[in-house]
């Protein structure tokens, strides 16, 4: 799957229920190619859950999520190659250095890339100087930056971001904006936030209540 192939996300009548409460029901939407899609809403309305549903990490109570590439529905194995994700629930290995983490996940994904490419990614997220330090020594903001390098490792067409700028300084927030703009050229950005300045970046907004 090279660049320039139009990916589209179709969610059909999604519902997620827990015994005590219902997060959302009958949620249908389409995310168009080359767009930034924002999910917003108060705490506890299911933003994170919705992102995980789209990523195929959580089963829906009802409904379907389909990812189309050139009008073809992708199989779960292909979806994995198409997705990159940054989330507070996701973590990288503390016992490895930033560079080793990238090398490890590249190996898991079967990407044979030279070390320079990882170094380039780390430079892009501003971690060049600390790339050989263990992740356990990183600050929260640095860990967040490393997650971006990890999410972009396989050049995914869909980038899913939960609270994209959490723990980041203003430079970091600017970096995220740049990443989103570039990603929009390549495919889709889906992110969840309550920050109105971030919502302004969106081509489409979904409000959960």
């Amino acid at each position: 799957m090279g660049e320039g192939m139009a990916v589209r996300v179709d969610c059909h009548r999604l519902a997620k229920r827990y015994p005590s409460r219902q997060l959302f029901a009958n949620l249908s939407f389409t995310i168009a190619p080359n767009s930034i899609f924002v999910v917003t809403g108060h705490n506890g309305t299911g933003k994170t859950t919705l992102l995980k549903l789209v990523a195929g990490l959580v089963p829906p109570s009802e409904g379907t999520v389909q990812i189309h590439c050139q009008e073809r529905t992708l199989a779960p194995g292909e979806v994995r190659q198409t997705l990159g994700m940054v989330s507070p629930d996701l973590a990288l290995y503390d016992a490895l250095s930033g560079l080793e983490n990238l090398e490890f996940f590249a190996a898991v994904r079967g990407i044979a890339a030279p070390t320079q490419q990882f170094a380039g990614l780390l430079e892009q997220v501003g971690l060049k100087k600390r790339s050989h330090d263990l992740v356990s020594t990183y600050s929260a903001g640095m860990k967040q930056r490393l997650k971006y390098a990890h999410a972009l490792l396989h050049e995914p067409q869909i980038l899913i971001l939960d609270e994209p700028t959490s723990n980041l300084d203003s430079q970091g927030a600017q970096m995220v904006c740049d990443i989103m703009r570039r990603q929009r050229e390549r495919g889709i950005v889906i992110f969840a936030t309550n920050d109105l300045r971030e919502v302004a970046l969106a081509d489409a907004v979904l409000v959960l209540d």
């Binding site: 997620k16 229920r17 827990y18 015994p19 409460r21 219902q22 959580v58 089963p59 829906p60 109570s61």
Partner: protein, 218 residues
Amino acid sequence: MIWKYAMGLFMAAVIIASFLLVPPTQGLGDMGRIIVYHVPTAWVAVLAYLMSMVHSVAFLRTGDMLRDRKAAIAAGLGTLFCVLATVTGAIWARGAWGMFWNWDPRQTSVFLLLMLYAAYFALRASVQDPDRRAKLAAVYAIFAFLTVPFLVFVVPRVYPTLHPNLINVAERRYEMDSILRLVFLSSVVAFTGLYLWMFDLRLRAENLIDQLERERGN
């Protein structure tokens, strides 16, 4: 409606026949009659566990929550009948071997079977999210059922057991006289019918509970 009454009459007939028609078996005397209850309950237990696995497979393929409910009900009934088979077996063991429980391979394997499905319900009880509960329970039910053939069929045949075998494999004949065989087979049919009936009742009750909870939730 009618088949429910028919079942009741049929079951009653089997029970009466087991005491009046079945001749005392040689060596075991009146104790032998218990075969009319013990084996069918054990058969139904294995059948119910099998159905639980079948529904679990169907759940994983379709994601239909009704299948999850059916799998749980079947596992519950399987456990009920497994307890009955264990109890009737222990009563028989008291008569034939002199004590209720002596860790014969058969008894050990039935004990494991009960633990296996007790663990299934322990797993169900510890997951709150119904979607996740259904998924994990289904995976476990399939995984657990892999062990069932070993417990029920392999272990007792490989390890020396005092448990009698119904079918003499070497001589390929049933070790039962014709009246006992008739009553015994009728009992198998009756208990299977009883299982189906209980399954239906439980399913209707669970569906109502679910409906009620949905109405309360909305």
